[in-house]
Subunit: 284 residues, 2 copies
């Protein structure tokens, strides 16, 4: 996969996303455009394109899958920011802050609907991809509800923490690999993709928590450092970093076993993030 | 179409809806179950089943289309109630009132996602139905945003009122007919279905406004009686009723021309509602 090539294909993904949210211009479409233009690393689109190329999925279907995964992720960001009252996203006001609560609900709905519409370009696999996407969306909604229920000072055990972190972020990280595998007729590998994506999600959430210990304490949000402190760890910060490194490394090992090298980019991301955390540990 | 037959098929639609929202039990799924169990006339499911039978669409696809339309409608109800702060729905507390704002957002998202997943059972037509559904969802989101923008005392002209009423309720009334027509390879008739469904929506909204004049005045919500009063009608109440009757009758006339009699149930509904309003006018 050539760097230039992937940049051009990512532009096609952006164009497809933009076309799908602008069928009917209005305040919701404007809010979505503003949200999407703020950037974001498009990790899910990249994971999808990489996996589709590795598995020789046709380019139009690959663009459709990448657009679907990225639109879905952004739908979850817009609604999560509103639910959590997070005021900032990518250095700008979150949609609920700039456009109001009602428009933020509409904007998230529009992104969710557009994500499904993107799958119309996936050919005969569309029906099975639809069903798979809904299963992941259902899981992520359940995770978000569980996470919200644990806010307000309830202290979870590590097992509950991992379950919620996995449910909240895992499904939308699994999805790019899953849709690529299903499009390529490799559904048997979806279980391994699920394990790799879920472990990555736990690693990601724990690493994210390390940067947010104080803020989460003020907002009474679930944080792995607080969970480990409550269960008696002498240095919960170190233990949380070790947990994140371990989950990233496990994720990479499983991702590398996926068919056709389709998990190589996920493995690379996980390995790089684990190395960064190890470097921090060494410097500390 | 026999009455018993349609009752059994509607049970299959209910089962499909329930299965799709319960993939992952949790608070959002519970909230959705409670919302759906409160009843509702399932007009959109009936319209879809009727149209599919008239056009000889296979039963599994008909059930899928009916479930998709009904799930989508309920998604819009859950999110609209939250946006409008309507406390009651079908004689019970609205979801945001019984489960909180965050769960209401999740519940609407789950219903929207489930609506798309229902289309997985529509066979080779799935891709074109997906795209058609997203176009209607985009239109309805635009209508909802425009309606919200007109709240707070801004008085619209009748033209704007009809445009907003059409955009807010029309697309999800058109959808059952549209998906049936597209499944049956009769896409050429979608424009007429759109006119019939849109006129029905304007009639419905105007008739609904007649019952809500005082409440809408207090809440500063758009109401056709206030719009007609502001544009100088001597008896805006009578003029609003005549408008509703006229739009229902126009809707019925167009619906009766749709292929294979697929619009007969919409025409019957429109004619019955127009007759009720005429009866009220005669009694007044």
């Amino acid at each position: 996969m050539q760097g230039e090539n992937i940049t051009i294909t990512l532009m096609h993904v952006e164009q497809r996303m933009s076309a799908l949210v602008h069928l009917h211009p209005g305040e919701a479409a404007q809010a979505v455009a503003q949200h999407l233009s703020a950037g974001g690393s498009r990790v899910r689109a990249r994971l999808a394109l990489h996996a589709c190329r590795a598995l020789r999925v046709h380019e139009p279907a690959a663009v459709a899958i990448a657009a679907a995964c990225e639109l879905l992720h952004n739908a979850s960001l817009v609604h999560d920011d509103l639910q959590d009252r997070d005021a900032q996203r990518r250095g700008r006001d979150a949609v609920w802050r700039s456009h109001g609560d009602a428009t933020a609900i509409c904007a998230g709905d529009l992104l969710l609907s557009a994500a499904y519409a993107a799958l119309a370009d996936t050919g005969p696999a569309a029906a099975s991809l639809l069903a798979a996407m809904h299963a992941r969306v259902s899981a992520v909604i359940r995770g978000q509800c569980d996470d919200l229920a644990l806010q307000g000072g309830t202290l979870a055990c590590l097992h509950t923490y991992e379950r919620v972190a996995a449910a909240k972020s895992g499904p939308l990280l699994v999805l790019p690999l899953e849709l690529a595998l299903r499009s390529a007729g490799q559904a048997a590998a979806v279980d391994d993709a699920e394990r790799a994506g879920t472990l990555f999600a736990v690693g990601y959430q724990a690493a994210d928590d390390l940067d947010d210990v104080e803020r989460d304490a003020v907002n009474e949000e679930l944080n792995v450092v607080a969970v480990l402190a409550a269960s008696g760890h002498a240095d919960p910060f170190v233990a949380a970093r070790e947990l994140a490194i371990d989950r990233y490394r496990q994720s990479a090992a499983i991702a590398l076993r996926l068919p056709g090298g389709c998990g190589a980019l996920l493995a690379e991301q996980a390995t790089r993030r684990a190395a960064l955390l190890s470097g921090e540990a060494a410097a500390a």
